[in-house]
Symmetry: D2
Subunit: 342 residues, 4 copies
């Protein structure tokens, strides 16, 4: 099979990462690369790490340029995907790396994004119960947010097994690429190096309802989520430190058994041996997820921690994984669990 | 007043930081600098940032070398302070930057440190209710741990005002200097740059009982603490993200009022204006504490976040602040609230 | 003496650093803080590390707001200083941290800046032969560029002693704050962390003619300079690696003697002991300069290396040092040789 | 073809990187992994980024454990490779990533390494004139040092074309992984973050004679090299800033033509378009080399700059590239020119 893929938003971080992965995908041929302000420029100046594409020129993001592909990856600002997808036709596989089609509840969307809801697409987190079936053969995929990917994979086995009380506290540290490539003063290297700082505190972050949706779906009841994101002085990576009260009788053994069961056959999620903890450096550039879990008996809480690369498993790797499923390819094609470390 | 001060453990990070501050203290004259493996070396090779002391030679850490000073700062591995302090006599002000005399409960000490308890000294966190009185004129001071400093200052006003339920969840990111200068593989620059990783998860960190002690003392009941420390890719700084269920009826206003009241007259704790969040870079090299607090109404939790410099307010600055109080000097002498940023 | 000082450009990195230093200067009272796009904002949101000034509001940069001060520091984009200085009157000490008045040769200015030359002011690098005399009592001071400060202090003693051939090769690494606070894509944290990259290669950097001017002035003949600046993944600091052919007969001893002589009485320049090399971390936040020099006998070259903090000695510290000289204060008032490390 | 490969020194950075690359090599099966102090440990704890090998156990580095492989990669401290290679027999392809067999001149070896010379093997920098022929079918390969790789590729086309005078000045910045994984105080994250510092100044670095050997071999005359390495605050990458006097009549055009010719058919060396400069982030994790060159007419110098990943093209990628040539595989098999950025 040769799949012809286009990438809209090729000059940004998500677009660059999906191109990095597609270059190594044996079944994909890279077609149109489109952008807005970058249209007309050589990719070599915009994404200098993608040497094989250095001489490609970015086209404008129009339905014409995106036509004629089997798969179109959208890395667009939120609110723009619906219009583009509509013009691509129902037979093209459209994979939206933005937020537009992640939330199933229109009220959530409106409250957090302030615009009208475009709808919801099959959710591209195959490790969630039931998700793989919905992705097989799909023509539309909503790629999860990076924080929800990390937090959901850290916590869902506890909820699936009924081991955790319905309130989770999630504190996650993200590398700066999660904030995108548009230059803003607080994202300058001078500002971020040497600094840890929170943002979107108190429930305001747009990834909160997505976490609630994922965990509630698994638990069968509404899970409240207190989510605090922090910006860390590194380009890539998310470390999600999650906890919830354990229900009565939960032990380290029952907890570990639940995670063992959830992840025994997952190709990308690696439950670390006891005593070893996730590190973002270990998954840099890889689609792997490192997970560890412990029970703090003193306070009766489950502590579940995951590390991902926000751009790979958290965005573009998750997108390619879902593409593989939608196209009927082996889910791991073109994806790696090998990080670039140190 | 001229106070003659000695520093035991002058070649490490805590020792270096206390020397940095004492060099700028108008009432202090720096006397003996002692060490173990560094004895006999010029300080210029060990602490090349302390130019005025470059030609000073490190002496061995013995009671003889530490004798004859008004103040002795101990930056020693835990378990060594008691023996040294005993030989210094009761009239010398001994300020222990290690853990030995922080915990009041011998059982806590034995459980977390595995040795017999040396006792407890006045606790050098002046901002805690009642602490200043105990420090005035004291001859022995136990400097708090860096994480307990950050977490206690983030949370205690909520407990002092009876606004929070007795279980706190604390996730803190620390710069690598908190792990000391002894070279270990996981602390190599190659390992830490680009990586966030937790450690001591599940209640095992030695700073946990100290946090419980501080918060319980303020609350008048036992506060359970779930504490997860993480190592962040920066040399200095702690960002403590703390939360607890709000008791019924707490609003953003009542919460802010409690913090306003707690910190109105504190010279080093700065409650940020609403909407601005702490950043470790802002307090780099300074004794200031940035604090912000919010109420997440959706989940009914108080989120309190603080940023400190782990070596300054978290160790050596806190030590000098306590020294000032113990000696009857103005508490802020030789200390600054101005960070070195960017 | 109490000197009232204003800072134009208070929201940028140079402005922030001069404020940081002036806050610790015993003879200075901080007056107007002005800016352009930041006018009307609280300084606490713009420079959150300067807690004592958090509630000050930035005024617009106008002659009216800058009037009535003894000293005015200008941290403006190049080309704007002359007009402002003119309106301040001849009795006000005006210290320009920009480039406008650094070059004495109008042709150099026009070639590198593309506008007409505003003139030249006494040059604020007191360590250069003859510079102190010109600064004493001056009412106008041109603060040197950060790279020329580092490179000139590394090399001039070799030229002053006639030990080096008239062609210098200078490769310098700078922290990102040297590029300013205006957000540009290549200065994003995501881009700079983990990356070293050159810029302005081949003689094009505007600091090149200033280096030539300084070294030629000392040598009494034109010194050619090949200068390559590189951007390093750190917020602050310049490491300048400089070399030149040694004239015949130069030995390590004669070289060291020349540097010893040049820097024996300099309060801020520290010639390191043999075998120890400069490190930017050691001078972070300090006005110190670390210098080391060696003779590579095999190739007959002098290698001279310096480390400075680009914002302190390289900009704002140099400015305050010159202010002290101009006002007749002790040159070291309010300045420190103690770095914030690690 | 399936090639069975062993790696001696599997727990270090060079060993880890060669394993990372071999995991993606379609013709290689990974056999024994050996070490010294790490023997008996799971690789998952030592190289947590290599998930597919997490359960492999490190064996002791003995001839027995290394026997029975087609290729053996040696990542050993210098001085140990000869004895191991001898016992492996002449039919096994032995690729030494250490220094032992790089230098052809015994006097150079003795002067820089202080031991007796073990000999010299075909030199694994295929891009050097004549090198490919010597590597084809070889059974022993000496992998170049990381700095000599970067510097030789930056400069040799100028020497091959007779455009540069025989004295080169090389200033290179390296990520910390180049210094290895053995913990030393100056390599701690606390020390290296925020700091640039030189070392081995004045001709003493052991990579200097290797650079001289490479450039002299191309030039047909002895090239003097002034080399200053610096340690940069990043885990990976080398930026080599190299210059030499241009011979009379050299222009930007003739220079560019020489580089175009040298690299037109090289799969891994990318001569950047004019105006774009190398950045280490762009080659992170990739075997690519970014090169740019300019003529500074004012001073008559050629400035040639290269960026590599010190662990990939600078060590393990170069080793795999040479393995491919030695085995008669396509030179690019299992190697990528795609970096992991940002």
């Amino acid at each position: 099979m040769t799949v012809r893929a286009a990438v809209a938003g090729a000059s940004g971080y998500a677009g660059g990462e999906v191109l990095r992965l597609l270059l190594g995908h044996p079944e994909v041929e890279i077609g149109a690369l489109t952008g807005n302000s970058s249209a007309g420029q050589r990719l070599g100046g915009l994404q200098p790490h993608l040497l094989p594409l250095a001489d490609r020129v970015v086209a404008e993001t129009t339905a014409e340029h995106l036509a004629g592909h089997d798969v179109v990856f959208l890395a667009l600002p939120h609110g723009q995907s619906a219009a583009v997808a509509e013009r691509l036709g129902p037979d093209v596989l459209v994979i939206d790396m933005g937020a537009d089609f992640r939330l199933t509840d229109p009220g959530d969307w409106e409250r957090f994004y302030g615009s009208s809801h475009a709808g919801s697409w099959p959710y591209g987190l195959p490790e969630l119960p039931g998700a793989r079936a919905a992705l097989a053969g799909a023509k539309r995929v909503a790629v999860p947010g990076c924080y929800p990917t990390a937090a959901s994979l850290a916590l869902f086995p506890a909820y699936a097994a009924g081991l955790a009380e319905p309130e989770a506290v999630i504190v996650a540290a993200s590398g700066t690429s999660g904030a995108g490539k548009a230059p803003k003063p607080h994202l300058l290297g001078s500002e971020v190096m040497g600094s840890m700082t929170p943002y979107g505190v108190g429930g305001g972050h747009r990834h909160t309802p997505e976490m609630i949706q994922n965990l509630s779906g698994v638990a069968g009841e509404r899970i409240a989520v207190s989510f605090t994101p922090t910006l860390a002085p590194m380009p890539r990576g998310i470390l999600a430190t999650c906890s919830a009260k354990a229900v009565g009788g939960v032990t380290g053994e029952s907890l570990r058994a639940a995670y063992d069961k959830a992840y025994a056959d997952e190709p990308f999620v690696h439950l670390l041996p006891e005593g070893q903890w996730p590190a973002t450096a270990s998954v840099q550039g890889s689609n792997a997820v490192q997970v560890q879990v412990a029970c703090d008996a003193e306070v009766g809480r489950i502590i579940a921690i995951s590390a991902i690369d926000n751009l790979t498993k958290g965005t573009a790797g998750g997108a390619v994984q879902s593409m593989n499923l939608a196209l009927g390819l082996d889910e791991t094609t073109g994806l790696s669990t090998i990080g670039v470390a140190p």
